[in-house]
């Protein structure tokens, strides 16, 4: 599991650096309980993926400034990673931390639902 995690992070980082979108946030700000670890699964740079990343970045900047990290994982480059998080739909955003794991699929265009999905706002 450990090696797999490392791999994912590595994959995410390279992807993040190479793509137009960059991972934002400062890792060592607060305790892990308050920290948001997000993973965005994409398959190549499709319009939907780019939209999703842009939407995600915007939401995080607004609501989680300084306490989040986004990994972007390109399944075309690391197809074996689809298995670990049970990824079918693209794009899929996975909230690894805080627990429990949450998944949000789609281009994240509906901000309200993303906030509900990330438990940043109570449902309803």
């Amino acid at each position: 599991m450990e090696t797999e995690n490392k791999k994912r992070k590595a994959g995410g980082k390279t992807k993040g650096l190479k793509s137009t979108a960059k991972a934002h946030g400062t890792p060592e700000v607060k305790s892990s309980k308050e920290f948001w670890e997000l993973r965005l699964y994409v398959a190549g740079q499709t319009p939907k993926s780019l939209t999703a990343f842009a939407n995600l970045k915007k939401i995080c900047e607004e609501h989680l400034e300084g306490k989040y990290r986004i990994e972007v994982i390109d399944l075309l480059k690391n197809p074996q990673l689809a298995r670990g998080d049970q990824i079918l739909a693209i794009p899929t955003l996975v909230r690894n931390l805080p627990e429990p794991i949450k998944k949000i699929i789609g281009d994240l265009s509906n901000t309200e639902r993303v906030l509900v999905g990330l438990d940043l706002r109570p449902a309803g």
């Binding site: 398959a43 399944l75 197809p79 689809a82 739909a89 693209i90 998944k103 949000i104 994240l108």
Partner: protein
């Protein structure tokens, strides 16, 4: 020219099939599932879809060298491994051989929030990665319909499913998609809409507390296929679909004859017995000795060194052996030698198809020359008349194809003796009827051959005796417009014997008398002859005497005349 021909010649492009290796299914489908295409297996819960799919995949790996991927949307891998271990599949070993991947794709609805547009590229990437990693030729999606429960945007899902099936085809994968039966439609979410090449429907019918699994090929584009509902069975060897070969009547008929085991019955059948590979029905009322005829046949088969499978539905093995010993048939020796296998089971213990598949498996593993069903009547308690008949037809076809001689016993009732309960008589080549004959406060057994296809059989009724020494078939007493059996026949025979002795004695006496007469007459003739001879002698002597006298007289006269010197007037007659 050649190019044009090559482009227009479609005859060579017949549908290539991918064998499933499932017993019977390849026969029904004419070779297997369409290669490089998708097949939908639909059916209600618990009807065996997953087993079907898994067997297809495992056989692909182990027998046809086609690596495969099993994608489960319902059961975790560990559960699958555990479940299939009971069917004798070691999925763990297969997975580690790099020829098979079992993957569990699972989406928890509660974990997922949908916002905006998405597609299922992740699934494609995942499948594609697995396919490429082992060079898979077969894939199973069991059951992809779960996605409908996990994802709420049906529009996207349907579009993606369509894309998925196109993708499977473009990859050249032979796929099985399973789908749960929906109300009013083949599958709950209309998967049949996407899979158009081959659709197989499984069903689990319970009638009169007996469950029967059935399979039907609803559609098979570009191929002929059996259209019936075929019962199938899941047991510890996997799936078996019955019947196996019943589409045509093409079995070869043997002209070899084999003994019935009862010499006198052989003589009733042209002195040679049954045809090898024929079906024989022995019917009769209770206690007429049907099982004994069957046991004798089994005994004679074993004596020839053939294997015999005895399917008993009423008695246990030891009971049969004991009972047959009482009429001088020792079956135990054959069981010990491995020539005879007695398989006793209660008909109601399983469903009909279970029985027949089991028989099928027994026949193919034991390879007998003779199979005995004792009695076939009990089968009817398991299914309806039509079901039983169709199953027996198929089973018989299989047995005939293997040149197995089959003997059925059938319990019939007095009032409709020449009717079989299951109306199976038309399937039978030879029909021997055993019946009671009641005369003089006795009940005796009569036997006759009702029909024997291709055999000039005797039309006479024989008395059928079960003794300590075995089975005996005897002539019955015919005469005075009645048939006598049992002690009446014995009495009649004794009377006849006495009469015959008297007649013989009379004849002997007459012969002696004649001899006496002849002797008397002969002695008389002798006497007369000797009388005649003596008289003849006497007469001859007197004639001689007279002649001499005459001569002496004439000489004396001449001398007297000479002495008197008489002149000779004329020469005496006869003298010179």
């Amino acid at each position: 020219m050649a190019k044009i021909k090559g482009e227009t010649d479609f005859s060579g492009a017949a549908l290539i099939k991918s064998p499933t290796g499932i017993l019977g299914l390849d026969e029904v489908t004419g070779g297997g599932l369409p290669k490089g295409r998708s097949t939908l297996i639909a059916g209600s819960a618990g009807c065996g879809k997953t087993v079907f799919a898994m067997e297809f995949l495992v056989n692909g790996v182990t027998r046809f060298n086609e690596p495969g991927i099993f994608v489960s949307f319902e059961e975790p891998v560990e559960d699958l491994v555990k479940n299939f271990a009971s069917l004798g599949y070691d999925l763990k070993a297969l997975s580690s051989s790099k020829k098979m991947i079992i993957d569990y794709i699972h989406i928890e609805r509660s974990e997922i929030e949908e916002t905006g547009e998405y597609d299922l590229e992740g699934l494609f990437v995942r499948l594609g990665h697995m396919v490429d990693s082992i060079g898979a030729r077969r894939i199973v999606l069991d059951t992809i319909e779960s996605l409908f429960g996990a994802l709420s945007n049906e529009g996207i899902l349907r579009a993606e499913l369509r894309r998925l099936f196109r993708w499977l085809k473009s990859k050249g994968l032979t796929a099985i998609i399973t789908g749960e039966k929906g109300s009013g439609s083949m599958t709950r979410h209309g998967l049949e809409e996407y899979v158009s090449d081959c659709v197989i429907f499984l069903d689990h019918l319970v009638s009169e507390q007996v469950a029967t699994r059935r399979l039907r090929i609803v559609k098979y584009r570009g191929s002929t296929h059996g259209t019936n509902e075929y019962p199938f069975l899941i047991d510890n060897t996997g799936i078996s679909v019955l019947p196996v070969t019943s589409l045509e009547l093409t079995h070869k008929a043997s002209s070899e004859r084999i003994s019935t085991g009862i010499p006198r019955l052989d003589t009733m059948l042209e002195g040679k017995g049954y045809y090898r590979g024929s079906s024989i029905l022995v019917s009769g009322t209770a206690g007429t000795g049907k099982s004994s005829v069957a046991a004798k046949f089994a005994d004679s088969a074993c004596r020839r060194g053939e294997r015999c499978l005895y399917l008993a539905f009423e008695e246990s093995e030891s009971q049969i052996i004991r009972n047959m010993r009482s009429i001088g048939i020792n079956l135990e020796q054959w069981v010990k030698k491995g020539l005879l296998k007695i398989h006793a089971s209660r008909p109601t213990f399983y469903g009909l198809e279970m029985h027949l598949v089991q028989i099928h498996n027994l026949v193919s593993s034991f390879n007998p020359g003779v199979v005995i069903f004792d009695p076939v009547t009990n089968m009817i308690s398991v299914g309806s008349e039509n079901e039983v008949k169709s199953m027996l037809t198929r089973l018989l076809d299989y047995l005939k194809m293997k040149l197995v001689t089959t003997l059925f016993t059938n319990l019939s009732h007095q009032e409709d003796l020449e009717k079989t309960t299951v109306a199976i008589s038309s399937l039978m080549d030879t029909w021997i009827l055993l019946r009671d004959i009641e005369i003089g406060g006795e009940r005796n057994r009569g036997l006759y051959v009702l029909k024997a296809r291709g055999i000039g059989h005797s039309n006479q009724i024989r008395e059928f005796l079960l003794t300590k020494e075995g089975i005996d078939v005897r002539d019955v007493y015919l005469g005075q417009d009645k048939v006598l059996t049992g002690s009446a026949r014995l009495a009649q025979e004794a009377a006849e014997k006495a009469e015959a002795i008297i007649r013989r004695q009379e004849t002997e006496w007459k012969e002696r008398e004649l001899e006496h007469k002849r002797e008397a007459i002969e002695s008389q003739i002798k006497l007369l002859r000797s009388q005649y001879e003596s008289e003849e002698e006497e007469l001859r002597m007197s004639i001689q005497h007279a002649k001499l006298k005459e001569e002496a007289i004439s000489r004396a006269t001449r001398e007297m005349a000479k002495a008197r010197k008489a002149d000779v007037i004329k020469p005496a007659a006869g003298k010179k």
